[in-house]
Symmetry: C2
Subunit: 352 residues, 2 copies
């Protein structure tokens, strides 16, 4: 098969980790007889510098014309702690999500047996953890009307959801649950928020269409606790945008493998794949960043966007092999020899 | 001195744990020559059953006429999973906070050396953890306009903050930081929300009034991660209502001592003290609930509301003694003999 893949490397370590995912994807494509054409495009602080816009129209065109988007990371310290900055890299991210209609952010948290002791949590608490968050990504308080009144003395942000927005996200959640253990947890704050009550009643009404799925409803504060106490008690969780932002980040650190967690953002037409870690500015250009989360995001891309599970598995297998053989960056080296970002990528590509 | 204390036992295990705090407070009062008059009042599901209202006016009058409020817990399972319930115990809680003007919720998380191994986190991650959240409690999305439009197909919740609301909370945060390690972390989502940008700019403008306090600004998603990774890197944290709800619950489980954590909610005139655990309906009437969080809430009351640090310390000391001597409820007994709720309370009162 032939694929066009938009390549949005972004800021900080983005370009370095993306390079390794490209190498590994090309190696897989070669092995299975596919042909990938990479379409690099600007985004983030890099795009602000070149064209004054974190998600330029030219980049949007490239994404729309591609079969999938592979994304690195965005964000640059010079925009932080500057509430007055007019254009920020994050705006590019939000604009991209909205314009590409990426309404479902899929974030798995799972454990690598060899890394389990890196977790801040005790082994017995996390063994067997394998959960997936589906976070709504184009609605809620992120995109509601916001502004100031009373001469700037009062600020407001509006959180809005329609039943249709909840349904399309929940549908993906039920479908995902059907392919896994048939357990779905709807996370909300229905004891306080009207939008949460809409979420809960909408999901409740969909239960009858998936009679095999066992659905539970939990408050966001309770989930924030139980994720630390018993992460392995969860399977598929669905939630709204802001709760998802907080809880998926919390979940990302429990497994001890944060630097390895991939993610996907899906819409009706196109999907985007990215590591969940940030742009890690301090490490830029040092050839020390761990490329595995981006490489595993490429695996998700083969599996989900191209429906090629064998290819995805080939990538996962070579990643496991690199961990077993200690071909890892310094964050995982534990005193043993550490390899560079590029060297890990080369090894993976060579061993596909 | 003479005190009137409103006693809101509430639901579930509330009455049982409150009873022990009353015993211990009376013992301290006797020892130090104070006189406490307890003013019991209805709240929660118990109040709905008796007068159809979770926070009746009669209860409000009693609170207003008191020097402090001691609160148990509210919530009853028959109101959960019923989005159509017209009156809910939680409404009583929100109404009480608003009507009493309790704008600052103070929630410490600290470790008891003897309980550290109960934490889901590894010992080296939590040793030395001693942080305090100041959560804004009467503003934000909890109290903004909420409702439906488009025949119920669209739901909305408005998040609103004024500069004055941020200032009074932040002031408490700066003052608290001055009595501790002079480190203050402002938790927001200023990269997305206008209300968060108001929070950040307001706190930034106050920095000059507290030149000794070192202030940091972190995004809520980053804090959700770091609380699990390095909880002992935090000291005083200030945040808005919803973020505080999620993060304080997350923080409560890291120390291994969740059943022991007290809290205070303060306004301009009156303060309320309560354990952070819930009403634990399954344990109601079984004489097994751990009363220590409520007893320690009484200690906070003596210290904060009555400005009597010696009395507070006497309570903390006897609690530590009970832990050291194993006079504990079953949740802490670890296979050894477990004492009943009442027996622990009796022992504490006798040993003051
Ligand atoms: C950078 C920020 C706007 C973004 C978000 O809040 O969605 C990030 O935290 C994420 O989770 O992708
Ligand atoms: C019961 C609920 C309304 C309440 C809140 O969200 O404030 C509770 O979770 C709390 O933290 O006190």
């Amino acid at each position: 098969m032939k694929f066009n893949i938009a390549l949005l490397a972004g800021d900080g370590i983005g370009p370095e980790v993306i390079d390794q995912a490209v190498k590994v994807s090309d190696a897989v494509a070669k092995k299975f007889g596919h042909e990938i054409t990479w379409k690099p495009a600007l985004t983030g602080a890099a795009a602000i510098d070149e064209v004054g816009e974190p998600y330029p129209d030219s980049t949007h065109e490239i994404c729309l014309a591609s079969d999938a988007v592979l994304f690195g990371a965005i964000g640059h310290p010079r925009f932080d702690n500057d509430p007055s900055a007019k254009v920020r890299p994050e705006q590019g991210l939000l604009k991209m999500r909205k314009k590409l209609g990426l309404f479902a952010n899929v974030r798995p948290t799972f454990t690598f047996p060899s890394l389990i002791d890196k977790s801040p949590l005790k082994r017995e608490r996390i063994e067997g953890t394998d959960l997936v968050f589906l976070r709504e990504l184009t609605g809620g308080i992120y995109f509601g009307e916001k502004g100031r009144r009373d001469n700037g003395e009062t600020a407001y942000d509006n959180c809005v959801y329609t039943r249709a927005e909840v349904q399309r996200l929940a549908k993906k959640g039920f479908e995902l649950a059907m392919t896994r253990s048939k357990k779905l947890c709807c996370v909300d704050k229905a004891n306080v928020l009207e939008t949460s009550r809409l979420w809960r009643e909408t999901v409740q009404a969909m239960e009858k269409d998936y009679p095999e799925v066992e659905v539970s409803y939990e408050f966001v504060d309770a989930v924030a606790m139980r994720l630390v106490q018993w992460p392995n008690s969860y399977d598929v969780l669905i939630t709204e945008n802001l709760f998802g932002d907080i809880l998926t980040d919390e979940a990302s650190v429990i497994s001890g493998s944060m630097g390895l967690m991939p993610s996907a953002s899906m819409g009706s037409d196109i999907a985007l794949f990215e590591p969940i870690h940030g742009s890690y500015p301090q490490a830029t250009g040092l050839n020390i960043a761990n490329p595995l989360a981006t490489v595993l995001s490429a695996a998700m891309m083969f599996e989900t966007a191209f429906n090629l599970p064998e290819e995805g598995k080939a990538i996962r297998d070579v990643v496991n092999k690199s961990l077993a053989e200690g071909i890892v960056t310094e964050d995982l080296a534990d005193g043993a020899k550490a390899y560079g970002t590029k060297e890990v990528g080369d090894w993976l590509a060579a061993n596909i």
